[in-house]
Subunit: 221 residues, 2 copies
């Protein structure tokens, strides 16, 4: 019974996710789903990316949180259009939440929408939202064992962004071990090592994202 | 439909959780549910606690992870009886998983069972497992905003253990703000500031746990 219903929900979710992707496509917008644990540094990363990407893409943001609009306020300060979704107790965004949020964004003014998911290394990875790209932010302070312990997340994302490398020396985190474990699960996964705090590695990640957006625009046109 | 099924599952879960508590009670065992984000430091904290608590309690551990038995292997090295639950993709432990795990522990040799839940700041808080005490581990590197952003967790736990205080100087984390936000949600919540890495604050937390176990034993006898 549980399983059947779960499948039904996922099926409905996938249908709505496809509709979201169609809306994005019609408006020339590339969707990116940003995933990771609570406190892995997703919002700080977006802040730094938008400074780096200024003039290179036209971004908008959908923020997902159980409560508060703190993350949306931070993005708003940068002048980037943003919508906050509060899930109540919900542990992940679903496509219908994003469908509703999209209506509050002027998509004609954008070419990229970043959806910052609820901080969660498990449930979020199971729900497509209409995105063409996904990356997971894993911080060094979480430990490199998280890759093997939470495999679906790393199997279902195109890139692993290792954040907080400025704190590497205070942790037992091995970048090599994290990459090795991630590639066992997902041989094609891209890897970036960054510090959203210091800005290290942000230009490389930004360049990769711009490349993805442009390649998609090239195919679409 | 979704909601009805979710309630049904929770009702069944609560029934099994009560059965687990009865099994614990019959064996004079006090159950503790340990919660927190991936990488907040739950396993390292348990390792340090068991050294500190050596001879003061008779602990056993149930470890919950999606995959791997890495955490259980760490606990096993300390000579503490431990059972690993792998949830597959499941984002939280449920009472029926704990019910099954209990059968692998010799409860007559224990007086406390720590259940280390899956790393998750959302879903895990909704499922009782048979425990009499719950605490959440929040690490300074996650940010103090996590309390307000993930309120159910802090409403449903008796203590907040702020971990990684040795890294405070490298973060914007305010211990005062975290405590203030937690007390707004849960006025009676106990707070401990620790570093599982350096051992700071471990004796105070250990003392509190022993006090809880002994008070319960006093009531039960």
């Amino acid at each position: 019974m549980q399983v059947v219903v779960a499948k039904e929900i996922l099926k409905v979710n996938d249908t709505i996710a496809k509709e979201n992707m169609e809306v994005f496509d019609r408006n020339g917008v590339y969707g990116i789903n940003v995933l990771g644990s609570p406190g892995s540094g997703k919002t700080t990363l977006l802040e730094k990316l938008f400074v780096e990407l200024d003039g290179k893409i036209r971004p908008g943001v959908i923020e997902g949180d159980l409560e508060t609009s703190r993350d949306a306020e931070r993005i708003d300060k940068l002048g980037v259009p943003v919508v906050q979704i509060n899930t109540g107790g919900g542990c992940h965004l679903e496509a219908n939440m994003v469908q509703q949020a999209i209506t509050s964004l002027d998509l004609s003014a954008l070419n990229t929408v970043f959806v910052e998911n609820v901080g969660n290394l498990v449930c979020t990875s199971g729900y497509m939202l209409g995105e063409r790209l996904r990356f997971v932010v894993l911080s060094t302070t979480e430990g490199d064992d998280k890759v093997s312990k939470y495999p679906p997340m790393f199997q279902r994302t195109q890139a692993m962004v290792i954040n907080k490398v400025d704190l590497l020396e205070f942790t037992d985190f091995s970048v090599e071990r994290a990459i090795e474990d991630a590639r066992k699960l997902n041989p094609d996964i891209e890897v970036f090592t960054i510090s959203a705090r210091t800005g290290e590695g942000i230009p490389e990640l930004a360049k990769w994202i711009v490349g993805k957006v442009q390649a998609w625009q090239g195919e679409a046109s």
